[in-house]
Symmetry: C2
């Protein structure tokens, strides 16, 4: 394979992904592991990272750029939150270099909204925004679904506001720990076009303040009408996602186009949800976006003059 | 003590309460236990009940009236839901007698709202409504806070609609199982007049559709502003209760007076919440209401002509 130029790392609470990247922005190798922050102590990060780099045959001097929870106070080394409003480019300039390691390792900071009325934080998603949005986009709204979904308003590469919604975590708790577990059973895959999902998105979006009441009705509908577990499961998902979209619109106003930065199953569900609400989206793959963001950072940290044109093609 | 006339039993999912009642509606003895439905199989109910009655010195022929989850399909013997709209008096006439027991044991049914658009069920709260509302009340709204809070609209002793809100269960899950557990810590008692609680009730009530977003801000406010855990705990409670009240008002409309049927800490919190929203309540003690409802039923099952006047004083 061609010689790697740097390693890119997305180090979250529950998982770790590492890519060896060539100077032209090509992924040369990839490893995934469940060695997220939740499983590590501060002392463990370097050996975990070195173990993976070694297994991937990375040169000893290869520099590394990291985003995600590894930069939190409870992580490897704190990369203090960048306060918004902020330019996405500032994320790169405010990176911290890990001390006491033989390699050059930089961790990108998260973003903080230091507003007493609506405090919020993100770590990791800022790198998806950096890689997933084009600077020429004048004004827009981005939706990044997940355990704690993020919504961000941006203007010409600046983030002016954002909020977090506990959609994914609520779904997991309600489906497995609450009385609704009897209604949804073990769950399972359902088609994003599932009518129960789509109807629930619409109901919840249009009556968001009543969403909490709609949750218990899942249990009741099973007791009274023998509704199937998979339909209840789809409906639970739809209620939470519809409520999230309604809440974000109330906060940020409607947007002509929402930039949906998502991957895998969540991408399909949110695409279906936005379609059910007749909303236009611009789809951005979240996995590609995080790598693109790390590439933008690496290009600034370790520039190779004649490769800029190549890196530039990453965002196309 | 005077001779008991019957035993009254509130048998819920997690707890069991038994009272020996005199013919004039006086509590002669009381026992509480955690032998709720969740811990029992169908075969276990009779021996648990007999054990407690024996320990209380109840005569072998004493009849027993039961409300709550013991009447569910997974309970002792099913007392099928009474479909609303229904008169509270119908709860008594639709009671079922447990078969195969030496005593006369009657179980009161729950209520079902068999509406495909808003299915709902209750078991146990119908007996609190029976005992806690006066028949002369022309029209009103009752709030019964709990793990699954119930709101019911009534007119002259008829229930025309109700809904369940998972407020208590959500609070427990979020405070102990979610990321918010870091923000609220072990929680603890707080004054119902706590400013964080009251402010959160108002914010959530007036912006109920944004309540899910406000939840994550608890975590962020602790990270960014070092907000204390007990304040976050009070705020979490206020957000959920304010959202519940907003949702109920959207469903049932505003009411001049809400009949708050509650006991203990929840009574204090909901009283404070309603006061923060400038809403008038009529307070009814939930523990007294459930006993009063069981007394009304017992009076119909096992009448003593000359005692009616005495029982009548229970509701004053």
């Amino acid at each position: 394979m061609s010689e790697p130029h740097f390693a890119a790392v997305d180090w979250g609470t529950s998982r770790l992904r590492i890519w060896l990247m060539s100077h032209d922005g090509t992924k040369l190798a990839e490893r995934r592991s469940d060695e997220g922050m939740a499983k590590l102590t501060q002392a463990g990060y370097e050996s975990v990272l070195e173990g993976h780099l070694d297994a991937m045959g990375a040169p000893e001097v290869l520099p590394v750029v990291v985003c995600g929870m590894a930069g939190s106070r409870q992580g490897w080394q704190e990369a203090r939150y960048l306060t918004i409003p902020a330019s996405l480019n500032d994320i790169v300039s405010r990176a911290v270099q890990v001390t006491g390691t033989r390699r050059d390792i930089r961790i990108l900071p998260g973003l903080a909204q230091r507003d007493q009325a609506r405090p919020d934080v993100m770590r990791g998603e800022e790198t998806q925004l950096l890689g997933g949005l084009t600077e020429s986009e004048p004004i827009g709204l981005a939706c990044l679904p997940g355990t704690h979904s993020k919504w961000a308003r941006f203007t010409n590469g600046h983030i002016s506001g954002f909020s977090s919604h506990m959609t994914g975590e609520l779904f997991g708790l309600l489906a497995t720990q609450s009385i609704l577990r009897h209604a949804v059973g073990a769950g399972g895959d359902f088609d994003p076009a599932n009518a129960d999902f789509v109807d629930a998105v619409r109901e919840s979006f249009h009556h968001a303040a009543e969403m909490p009441r709609m949750l218990f009705s899942l249990r009741a509908s099973q007791l009274l009408f023998d509704r199937s577990q998979i339909d209840c499961y789809a409906r639970l998902s739809g209620l939470l996602i519809g409520g999230e979209i309604a809440g974000a619109e109330l906060e940020f106003g409607t947007s002509d186009t929402v930039h949906l930065i998502a991957s895998g199953k969540l991408a399909g569900l949110y695409q279906s949800a936005f379609a059910a609400l007749d909303k236009t989206i611009h789809m951005v793959d979240a996995d590609q976006a995080v790598v693109a963001g790390l590439v933008i950072a690496a290009r600034r940290f370790w520039p190779i003059a004649d490769q800029q044109a190549h890196f530039g093609t990453m965002k196309a």
